[in-house]
Symmetry: C2
Subunit: 258 residues, 2 copies
Amino acid sequence: MARDDTPNAASVGTTERSFRILERLGDREGCGVSELADSLSISKSTVHNHLQTLRELGYVVQDGDEYRLGLQFLGLGDRARQHHDLYHVAKPETDSLVEAVGERAQVMVEEDGVGIYVYQSLADQAVRTDSHIGTVVDLHATAVGKAYLAHFPDDRLDTVLDRLVFDEQTPQTLTDAEALRTELDEIAERGYAFNDEERTVGMRAVGAPILSADDGHVLGAISVSGPTTRMNGTWYHEEVPEMVAQSAQIIGIRATYS
Amino acid sequence: MARDDTPNAASVGTTERSFRILERLGDREGCGVSELADSLSISKSTVHNHLQTLRELGYVVQDGDEYRLGLQFLGLGDRARQHHDLYHVAKPETDSLVEAVGERAQVMVEEDGVGIYVYQSLADQAVRTDSHIGTVVDLHATAVGKAYLAHFPDDRLDTVLDRLVFDEQTPQTLTDAEALRTELDEIAERGYAFNDEERTVGMRAVGAPILSADDGHVLGAISVSGPTTRMNGTWYHEEVPEMVAQSAQIIGIRATYS
DNA sequence: ACAAACGTTTTGTCAAGCCGAACACACTCG
DNA sequence: CGAGTGTGTTCGGCTTGACAAAACGTTTGT
């Protein structure tokens, strides 16, 4: 996880604890009090209290001795997404892109220095990975992320790059900021970004930025990803980039003229 | 809101406060500290502390003087939904139903006595309403809810009905439990449920239960809803019910044989 | 039948969440 | 142009209530 700093003292530790419990509940699907308490190093009684409170609020459901994440989070998530109008216009176009290319396509939006997938469309043949809607993605090690950063305003780019942790996820991962900068320049000129096993071995991706049609600032990014066995040759280097870039442009136009 | 009881003392009040803030943030899209503090009757400094904590966790984003719900909730919501396998099989079938019928279709799952929409598909002509994915719905005043309750185990039905608040939402809303019971019997026999302006004036809906193919217990419900101007005659009374019931059956079969 | 593991309940204590007041800043209006 | 009101933020003291540890009741498996 390229989770961020937090050097300063937080204010409400109790809330933080509740969310740590919730996130852990999301990882395993359904688990008991003791397992949570052990893995989080919190006393059982405390975990129990939190779970009871969250249950009454409807954000956790109790199923015998197991607790699971409640569906109420769908409401909060959807509300948050509604505020980004990009989602609405990107959804249908992304679906048609998947219909044309196959594989998997995802739409990313940046929020507070990290990228988050707001939509994902899968073809039948798509590879199952760990990326879902709501997944937090590194901006420097994905096709969407690099396509996005390539059109990021310079001043904000610096602060984002400073916060980046260049942990080497595969042998192909870029590990220094300077190499990333030069690649970003290439991407900006070319119009789309590649990801060749930088994050997951055996997976390739092509991403393109979604730009506002009037002032040209970047709204998000879209990518197609699949296994290297299918993503290769001119299909990977030319045809797919062409289609992704075209979809990105259509979304950008629709997004600007609401 | 048919929000529930909670007469007993909760355990972690701080967490409860955080979620009250988050829910309020979702209602208005983006607002400031003072507005939140006033409407929740919490001191400004407390609200500020909570917001800072939530911001560091990524669940709230700060945009100048405004705070908004963060997209991280998409992750939690999606995780919660993944645990319900009904979603995966219902999604494609719901989309085809919308393609055939037009209007709007939604899939509901019950959790802890309330119904929650886990998926929604809209045709171009669909009416914009306040129901989204994650919306909590009354089980007694919607087509999905009644279709679901009609196949609910008797013992659990009693407890659910006891907790129901029969607030009259439109002149057509059912207001006593006995009338609801007899209607549920009719629905169970007929196989589908109607909603004729019981929740929203001008809106009609047809819902059918999604039943497990082996033991017949109810997994959820699906409905199509639209304006009375288009939903009428045999279309409303026969053709649409036929299609909804058929989709529900298909989903039920696919859900049982994973 | 015992033991080990679980979830829940209880108890006391001290940290920490809460509030109110003061602060800094941005606007508006007379 | 300042007085005035509206923000969001910071500060300090008080007391609440969140926390951990241990006791309790049930279930599991050997």
